[in-house]
């Protein structure tokens, strides 16, 4: 059996799954302390279940997001080695930056050496302003990390108490701003994250759970808790990943659908295409800063079940959340209340809404039903605009190869999986209006936890090698180095990439059996009339998907 827990802003969901079957589930309000919320949910989930039969626990939490959003971060500084290019002062770096000499080019060649005195001076300025965590980011450090490492070493020698993190250890992807910010945030949250991981381990111990604990990643894969200590940002934004996987579990293998997750204040929209969640092309944003974390493409609509219904000059308007829905004892009329009135919600409390709804309608010369319908249709119009925007972004994804351009029109999904209380009613109306298929999973209220429980261990490797420079690098932070063999053709390059893939899986403690190739390219490096070497770009990953799908009948069409 597997346990999945999703700690959301308001609720913490938990499920015990036996393959595609929900054995037990819990939904509780999230408390002040995330670790104790997890422990509480685990305790309830395990009632009547032998802890030894649990083979894995997967956690999805908002912990890192909360730490950063609430500004509970440790101060960090950034040493930048920009070399030639964009003015670094114009780039969105997430910390106070010191810019120093030293540069690497796109081939990984050092084109300017560092000046140790500059490093020393930068370090002193950081220490003087109370900063003792320092991220180091050099442009193209993934092609050659030597300068970043040299600086790290200099700082550690001069001041062993300072914590240094080189950006190439965080990610090997192109985009030094994202790598730099990734390093900054990793340093800033690492202490709190370590504390959290320790508390989770204690809970596990206390409850007699001996199985591995994994963290759900933003890309829908999992990483062992122990490994995630080195890469705390991997677990950021796992909420949308959990709900998308939960929707996929209900929709079945090969699902092509929009996933609509409606909460109190926002509605998250994601896409699943032929069983594969759609990823954001560039990476995630944390607190408005771009980071290197790969995440699912999620569009957010600033409307949810608790959005209030008001009238402005006789026009129905949806506004901010002021609290619970009126049917649940809140003070103002909400979208949820409109759904309840129209008979599109499972919630009771219609009688609590009636007087106000009728009074409000009368004042504006409307029928109560008209007002409720109007409010809901405003929601659907916003949803339509957002979906249109999301489809356009997806269809307009840049393409750098001929086959990507000519591979034809992308087919828009006409199915929606509805998650979250108000989603069901809204989805049913959307389905009627647009002729879409609507799936409301039976366990929609704990879909995120199901998604977490059924998630697979995944690994993606983007491999790059330059046989003239005899270097290779990967997307995985820290996994780069010198080539020992020349890799004369694409086939050998692929074999080498495959071996790195296996090695990475082993080091990350991930049981990986199969890999699929995403792309493979070999370029000739020609200068004058001579071929000086080759550049290879190879992408491989474990096939995405789920460990199991919910048993038949779990999803209900409407």
């Amino acid at each position: 059996m597997e346990i999945g827990i999703d700690v959301g802003g308001t609720f913490t969901d938990g499920v015990v799954m036996n393959g595609g079957q929900v054995v037990n589930w819990v939904k509780k309000e999230t408390g002040e302390d995330i670790a104790s919320s997890i422990q509480g949910v685990l305790e309830q989930l395990l009632a009547g279940i032998d802890p030894f039969s649990v083979k894995r626990v997967v956690l999805s939490t908002t912990l890192i997001t909360n730490i950063i959003a609430q500004g509970r971060v440790a101060p960090a500084g950034l040493i930048l080695l920009p070399g030639p290019g964009v003015n670094p002062r114009d780039l969105p770096f997430a910390a106070k930056a010191e810019i120093i000499k030293g540069a690497v080019d796109y081939r990984g060649r050092i084109i300017e050496k560092i000046d140790p005195a500059e490093v020393s001076a930068a370090l002193k300025r950081f220490l003087d302003s109370g900063i003792s965590r320092i991220a180091v980011a050099c442009k193209f450090s993934q092609r050659n990390p030597a300068l970043e490492e040299e600086i790290s070493r200099l700082i550690e020698e001069e001041c062993p108490a300072v914590r240094v993190l080189a950006s190439s250890r965080v990610s090997g992807l192109l985009n030094w701003v994202r790598r730099a910010n990734g390093a900054v945030f990793s340093l800033q949250v690492s202490d709190d994250y370590r504390l959290f991981a320790g508390e989770v381990a204690v809970s596990m111990e206390r409850l007699g759970l001996k199985c591995p604990v994994c963290i759900l990643k933003a890309d829908g894969g999992t990483i062992p808790l122990e490994q995630s200590l080195q890469r705390p940002l991997e677990g950021i934004f796992s909420g949308p990943a959990a709900s998308t996987l939960g929707a996929l579990a209900a929709g079945g293998e090969g699902l092509t659908s929009v996933v609509m997750d409606t909460g109190g204040t926002t509605t998250d929209l994601a896409l699943v295409l032929e069983g594969r969640p759609l990823f954001s092309e560039k990476g995630a944003f944390v607190n408005g800063y771009p980071v290197c974390t790969r995440a699912m493409a999620v569009a957010s609509l600033a409307l949810g079940g608790d959005s209030t219904i008001t009238l402005e000059n006789g026009r129905v308007v949806l506004g901010e959340r002021y609290g619970k829905a009126m049917c649940l004892g809140g003070a103002r009329l909400t979208v949820t209340d409109a759904l309840v009135y129209l008979g599109l919600s499972d919630l009771a409390g219609r009688e609590k809404i009636l007087p106000i709804l009728e009074e409000m309608s009368r004042r504006h010369g409307l029928e109560a039903g008209e007002l409720a319908e109007k409010a809901v249709s405003i929601f659907l119009e916003s949803l339509e605009r957002k979906l249109e925007e999301m489809f356009a972004v997806w269809e307009e994804e840049p393409a750098y190869r001929i086959w990507q351009v000519i591979s034809g029109q992308k087919k828009r999904p006409r199915t929606v999986v509805c998650l979250g209380g108000p989603a069901k009613g809204l989805g049913i109306l959307w389905g009627k209006k647009k002729g879409w298929q609507v799936i409301v999973p039976r366990h929609a209220q704990v879909a995120n936890a199901i998604g977490a429980a059924l998630s697979k261990t995944t690994l993606r490797l983007d491999f790059f090698a330059d046989t003239q420079q005899m270097i290779y690098s990967t997307n995985i932070g820290g996994l780069h180095g010198s080539l020992e063999h020349i890799l004369p053709n694409l086939e050998e390059a692929k074999q080498f990439a495959e071996s790195l893939f296996r090695q990475a899986a082993k080091e990350l403690d991930m049981p990986v059996s199969r890999s699929e190739t995403l792309y493979e390219e070999g370029f000739n490096i020609i200068r004058g009339w001579n071929t000086l070497g080759k550049i290879y770009q190879i992408g491989m990953q474990t096939p995405p998907g789920l460990r199991a799908f919910l048993e038949k009948g779990a999803g209900t069409g409407a």
Binding site: G85, V86, E112, K139, I525
Partner: protein, 443 residues
């Protein structure tokens, strides 16, 4: 705030041949530099997806022999289509300006296309110009070609069009392919001084490059008042380019872009794939977006100043002086330039370096007081290894008068009626830009 759009199409799966300068590797380092900079996260820059150009978009410009499909691959259609996509975004007011960072290039492709010339099959900028004029009713467009090679294809296509100003800034044709682009190639009698060639001496630096822009091109644009400016952004004026001998740097290209403010820039040549392209492309992109490009300094340039000799200085002063004087005077009228016969005739031979084709052409333009006049061309081409082609084509200008348009169809009927298989052209073309109708008949 409207954004600067980028279409980056490096065509990682297309090459003329594995070791040709126009190969898969060409924009690899540019990709690395631009992606690594994080500049695509800049809110002032937006990336668009390339698309294919339609066959008709190509027929609006070229007589492809025997047809468009045999002269283009998907890569060509995507390269041209990317320019069109940005053109649409611009005219729909989605963007402030745009950069089609695409390959293969196009500015050596002339009106008649028998094969590949100077790495080009179809002319991306010309296809863009005609598309925008047809679709959006724009009339006056300027194309400023800053490639080191003379933009002879673009010149050829618009040589008789008074509404398209073609300016080419390039290394003197006596020292570089394609060996043309001299000051006396200044447009046909109906479009005189709507072609401006500024041949610069080898060794010209940023200073000379910018001087030619400020002294000649800028005032010419101010006088012409184009509705749209397109930059054929070749980067082989760079001091490290292996195919040419100029000494321009990324900063020079950045400055020119900043001052020229093209609405759309389309990549042309540039074969220093490592030392120039990553930096020049970045500088152009930043300049278009109004961002600081002063830190885009090639490692080869650091600590040195690229200077041009006194002699080069003087040559640049002579050529810019020539144009200042020429453009300062009232040019002779169209009637005078056409002469008594009212017919412009030109015979010439054209060499296709890449495909080794020799083409012989006879062109004519009829004088019309009301419009640019009908254009006809007869062309025979022979490949060194056999196979020859003979074609005849007629073009009705976009702003043709109704009489000329009607007469063109009369000619066409007559010629098609009389065609004699086996003993005449292999292919006949009627290009009706005004009616957006493109006819082709086998001989």
């Amino acid at each position: 705030m409207r954004k600067t759009a980028l279409i980056f199409f490096p065509a990682f799966d297309w090459a003329i041949s594995p070791s040709h300068p126009e190969r898969e590797e060409r924009l690899l380092y540019t990709r690395d530099q631009i992606f690594e900079e994080g500049i695509l996260d800049n809110p002032r820059i937006v990336e668009y997806k390339p698309r294919l150009a339609e066959i008709e978009d190509v027929e609006r410009v070229h007589f492809c022999v025997p047809d468009v499909a045999s002269q283009t691959t998907n890569a060509h259609l995507i390269s041209a289509g990317s320019a069109l996509k940005l053109g649409d975004a611009l005219l729909n007011r989605e963007i402030r300006n745009g950069f089609a960072l695409v390959r293969p290039p196009g500015h050596h492709a002339m009106r008649v296309v028998h094969g590949n010339r100077g790495f080009c099959n179809i002319n991306n900028e010309a296809i863009l110009v005609e598309y925008l004029r047809f679709k959006y009713g724009i009339r006056r467009i300027a194309v400023v070609d800053t490639d080191v090679h003379h933009g002879d294809g673009t010149q050829d296509i618009f040589y008789h069009d008074p509404d398209v100003l073609v300016v080419s800034l390039h290394q003197d044709g006596r020292t570089l392919y394609p060996g043309s682009g001299f000051v006396d190639e200044a447009g046909g009698p109906g479009a005189y001084l709507k072609t401006i060639n500024i041949p610069l001496p080898p060794g010209t630096t940023d200073e000379g490059f910018l001087k030619a822009w400020r002294r000649v091109i800028k005032p010419a644009l101010e006088a012409f008042k184009p509705e749209l400016v397109i930059n054929s952004a070749g980067q082989d004026n760079h001091f490290t380019d292996p195919l040419a001998n100029m000494r321009v740097s990324a900063a020079g290209y950045g400055k020119l872009t900043e001052e020229l403010k093209p609405d759309l820039a389309v990549l042309e040549g540039g074969y220093a794939v490592e030392t120039a392209l990553p930096y020049v492309n970045l500088a152009i992109l930043l300049a278009l977006a109004g961002e600081d490009y002063s830190n885009v300094i090639e490692p080869q340039k650091r600590g040195t100043v690229l200077r041009q000799s006194e002699e080069i200085e003087q040559a640049i002063d002579r050529i810019t002086g020539y144009w200042q004087e020429k453009l300062g005077r009232e040019p002779p009228g169209k009637d005078e330039l056409f002469g008594g016969k009212g017919l412009y005739l030109r015979s010439r031979s054209i060499y296709y370096d890449t495909d080794q084709i020799y083409e012989q052409q006879r062109e004519s333009v009829e004088y019309c007081p009301d419009c640019p006049g009908l254009y006809q061309v007869e062309s025979r081409a022979k490949k060194t290894w056999g196979d020859s082609r003979w074609i005849w084509g007629m073009s009705i200008p976009l702003y043709a008068c109704p009489a000329c348009q009607a007469r063109a169809y009369e000619y066409w009927e007559k010629i098609i009626g009389k065609k004699n298989s086996g003993n005449g052209p292999d292919c006949f073309y009627l290009q009706d830009k005004k009616g957006n109708r493109y006819l082709r008949e086998k001989g």
